[in-house]
């Protein structure tokens, strides 16, 4: 066992750093130069889809390379990639989709020209996802499903071209059986999207109503009734992606800089012992979490699954993200209050309030923390 990098790994690290220095956009260019950035990544040999296997155009990183790649990328803001296509649907299509589906959907997912949203949760099916009721009935001639039901909390449904849905095709047996994975275009006349405004007034989630939507069987992924198994495998991927460890490392550094701008007594907020201790605790925990992720990656590289341990990353990672937002909120102080068009006080104040409010969702979506603990207790510790 050894934490130092081999000379190949060091060379790789240098290459990644050089690439970033040369190509990363900043400020507004983050949005206007997005596609250029992803193209450049792609030209490096699949760096735009670092987690995809080589067979599908991914880079085929070793675990150490993935770790290096993620760490280096995490050291500065980079243009965001919508998570639902590249990170969530693609692995399912690669594992369970037909070749025809792979050819049809993966290119649009990869180049970002087609936006996807995830239609799992329903009013009665949140933590207990298997309780979902959206009904898909196969036509007599077996050519299509007729889908009726309601999804909720569907992130970015209002800008999505397609939705991947879990639907119920049978109510026999256990709840987990009889769930079928369908791909549905959002421009179908039977699809209606209604916005939900969340804490802080932002619109990112929606209700999606499905009324007599005709879905050709070609849009079913894998076998009928096996959707739960497919989705579950994907959730593990989703979770490890939600830990956001590198961005927390970056965020914590930023929070320290912010706190240093706030004058208190003879010094700054960062000098206040109880504040400084909170920063220290977070730093120590992040060091540990980073290496926990490394261990998970090593396991995947050795042919294992991210498995239930990904719940540890999700659980701790999101909690840490939230605590960092608390530091910024505290630094903003009363300047967290202004909520008009004009900003007042420290430059980070408005963003601090937004992140604190929006950040409350991180311990709810992708499996709420309480339920994650159940998953670990059951699947890792063998408790009940």
């Amino acid at each position: 066992m050894d934490t130092s990098f081999s000379s190949e790994d060091l060379a790789f690290q240098k290459r990644v750093r050089a690439f970033i220095d040369e190509n990363v956009p900043s400020g507004m260019a983050m949005w206007t130069e997005r596609s250029k950035w992803f193209e450049a990544l792609r030209e490096q040999g699949g760096w735009d889809v670092p987690k995809w296997p080589e067979h599908f155009g991914g880079p085929g990183f070793t675990a150490t390379q993935r770790y290096i790649f993620d760490s280096e990328m995490g050291k500065q803001p980079t243009p965001p990639q919508l998570p639902f296509g590249v990170g969530m649907l693609a692995p399912i299509l690669m594992n369970y989709g037909s070749e025809e589906q792979q050819q049809r959907f993966l290119p649009g997912i990869r180049d970002g020209s087609v936006n996807w949203c995830q239609g799992y949760s329903e009013p009665g099916a949140g933590s207990d996802l298997a309780n979902l009721k959206t009904k898909a009935v196969l036509s007599d001639d077996g050519s299509h499903y007729l889908v009726n039901g309601q999804k909720i909390w569907t992130t970015l449904a209002h800008i999505a071209h397609w939705i991947f849905c879990l639907t119920r095709t049978s109510s026999d047996g256990a709840k987990q059986e009889g769930i079928t994975f369908l791909l549905i275009p959002m421009d179908d006349p039977g699809v209606e999207v209604r916005p939900i405004i969340t804490l802080g007034g932002s619109h990112s989630v929606n209700e999606v109503y499905l009324t007599d939507v005709k879905v050709p069987v070609e849009n079913r992924v894998g076998e009928e009734g096996k959707g739960w198994t497919y989705a579950k495998g994907l959730l593990a991927h989703e979770r490890s992606g939600l830990a956001g460890i590198q961005s927390s490392v970056l965020g914590l550094e930023k929070a320290k800089v912010n706190a240093e701008k706030i004058r208190i007594g003879g010094g700054t907020l960062l000098d206040l012992p109880s504040f400084k201790n909170k920063v220290g605790v977070l730093e120590a925990e992040l060091l540990a979490l980073e290496f926990t992720e490394m261990r998970t990656l090593a396991r995947v590289a050795a042919g294992g699954d991210p498995g239930p341990e990904s719940s540890i990353l999700k659980l701790k990672g999101t909690e840490i993200q939230q605590r960092i937002t608390e530091l910024n909120l505290e630094a903003a102080g009363m300047f967290a209050a202004p909520w008009g068009h004009e900003a007042f006080g420290p430059d980070f104040a408005h963003g601090a309030t937004q992140s604190y409010l929006g950040g409350r969702a991180t311990t709810i979506y992708g499996g709420a923390s309480e339920v994650q603990k159940d998953v670990i207790a059951k699947n890792v510790l063998g408790l009940g």
């Binding site: 949760s121 009665g124 949140g126 933590s127 207990d128 309780n131 909720i152 909390w153 939900i196 405004i197 969340t198 804490l199 802080g200 007034g201 989630v205 706030i262 004058r263 208190i264 007594g265 907020l269 206040l272 012992p273 109880s274 504040f275 608390e326 909120l329 505290e330 903003a332 102080g333 009363m334 300047f335 967290a336 209050a337 202004p338 909520w339 008009g340 068009h341 004009e342 007042f344 006080g345 309030t353 604190y356 409010l357 409350r360 969702a361 311990t363 709810i364 979506y365 709420a368 923390s369 309480e370 603990k373």
Partner: protein, 374 residues
């Protein structure tokens, strides 16, 4: 010792709760929040008519002569209803300062018309340079003939837009961080040289950035002794802390109670959420946090009422504890509501935001913990 409320106090609480139950559901409140002024002038008059605005004002000046415990009861009830009217600014901070440090003439000039609902005031003390250091005052008041000329900028002045008068902290001598040499001045809101940038706040209130550009006030506008404003300011802020702590206690009560209700009725895995032990324990912890905050709020209020030596220390402990427990109760209320806790359609989100800002108002947890441990 007597910890029971008097009949009058119970009546006060009941009358506020009755008013809120009939007039102040979330829809009605949000309508006020998005209205032009951000609150209801009609409600304001009702508060005056029902005697609430006269509650802490001495009988000599048209009030009921209530004490800080009465104010606590009122703010606890307001916290339950998420009241948006400027009672904190006008009654606790502005009238409070006059009550503590004003001359007979000043009291006579303002307090009766505050009690009757005609006049509103705001306290302009916070500055961007060191927002939590009360003694850092860069705004200056320069003596010219029989006048003072005030110049400087005050930030996040709650309910400045609706105020008829401001009470402004300004430096009459010393350097910007000298504890001595700070004075408080009454400034009519429509004075020449006063300009405002108004905005809504994240928790549904209104506030302003206030700029004073050579604003002239007479010497008689000084409240309390010249150069000794810091002590007065600290006492007013203490009353503010007691009031918003009581408000937080009320808000926390609503949050833990509504989270109990929600988790009893919401089912997942074929059980009400409240059946799960983790949820039960969490709700119990919320209840405990609420109770600790309530206890300390009562004690600190009574000590400040009696002006005991250890009152200040208790107020620091209180502000720390209220911040900590509000965070716990607020965050877990959202968490246990799941996605529903994130929507602005439910009251939870609005209580959560108000508690978040109460923590920031008059200094957050770490500052008061530091002051408490010394």
């Amino acid at each position: 010792m007597d910890l029971a409320y008097t009949d009058e106090q119970n009546m006060l609480r009941e009358s506020i709760e009755k008013f809120l139950a009939s007039e102040y559901d979330l829809t009605a409140r949000q309508k006020l929040v998005s209205s032009e002024t951000g609150f209801s002038g009609q409600h304001w008059q009702t508060y005056a008519d029902l005697g609430w605005l006269g509650l802490p004002i001495a009988e000599d000046f048209g009030g009921l002569g209530g004490d800080l415990v009465d104010t606590m009861i009122m703010f606890e009830a307001f916290g339950k209803g998420l009241v948006v009217e400027p009672v904190l600014s006008t009654l606790v901070l502005f009238a409070g300062a006059l009550d503590i440090g004003g001359s007979e003439d000043q009291k006579q000039a303002y307090l009766p018309s505050i009690a009757s609902g005609e006049v509103q005031g705001a306290l302009a003390y916070l500055e961007a340079a060191a927002p939590t250091d009360l003694h850092v005052v860069e705004t200056t008041a320069v003596s010219v003939d029989t006048n003072y000329t005030i110049t400087g900028t005050k930030s996040v002045v709650l309910h400045a837009a609706s105020a008829d008068h401001f009470l402004v902290s300004a430096r009459t001598s010393g350097s910007a961080d000298d504890p001595a040499g700070i004075s408080l001045f009454l400034v009519p809101a429509d004075s020449d040289g006063v300009s405002r940038k108004d905005y809504p706040t994240v928790d549904g209130l209104r506030a302003s950035e206030l700029v004073f550009d050579q604003v002239k006030v007479p010497q008689t506008a000084c409240v309390g002794n010249l150069g000794e404003g810091l002590t007065l300011l600290q006492r007013v802020i203490n009353r503010g802390i007691l009031a918003i702590s009581a408000e937080a206690v009320g808000a926390m009560q609503v949050l833990y109670e509504s989270t109990i209700e929600y988790t009893k009725q919401r089912e997942q895995f074929d059980h009400p959420l409240a059946d799960f032990q983790v949820v039960k324990h969490r709700l119990t912890e919320m209840f405990i946090e609420y109770n600790l905050a309530k206890s300390l709020c009562m004690k600190a209020t009574m000590l400040e009422n009696q002006r005991t030596d250890d009152a200040q220390r208790h107020i620091h402990a209180l502000k720390f504890l209220v911040g900590k427990s509000s965070r716990f109760v607020g965050q877990n209320a959202v968490q246990l509501h799941g996605g529903m806790g994130m929507t602005e359609d439910l009251a939870v989100a609005h209580y959560f935001k108000r508690l978040m800002m109460i923590d920031a108002t008059f200094g957050h947890t770490d500052i008061h913990l530091q002051a408490f441990v010394g």
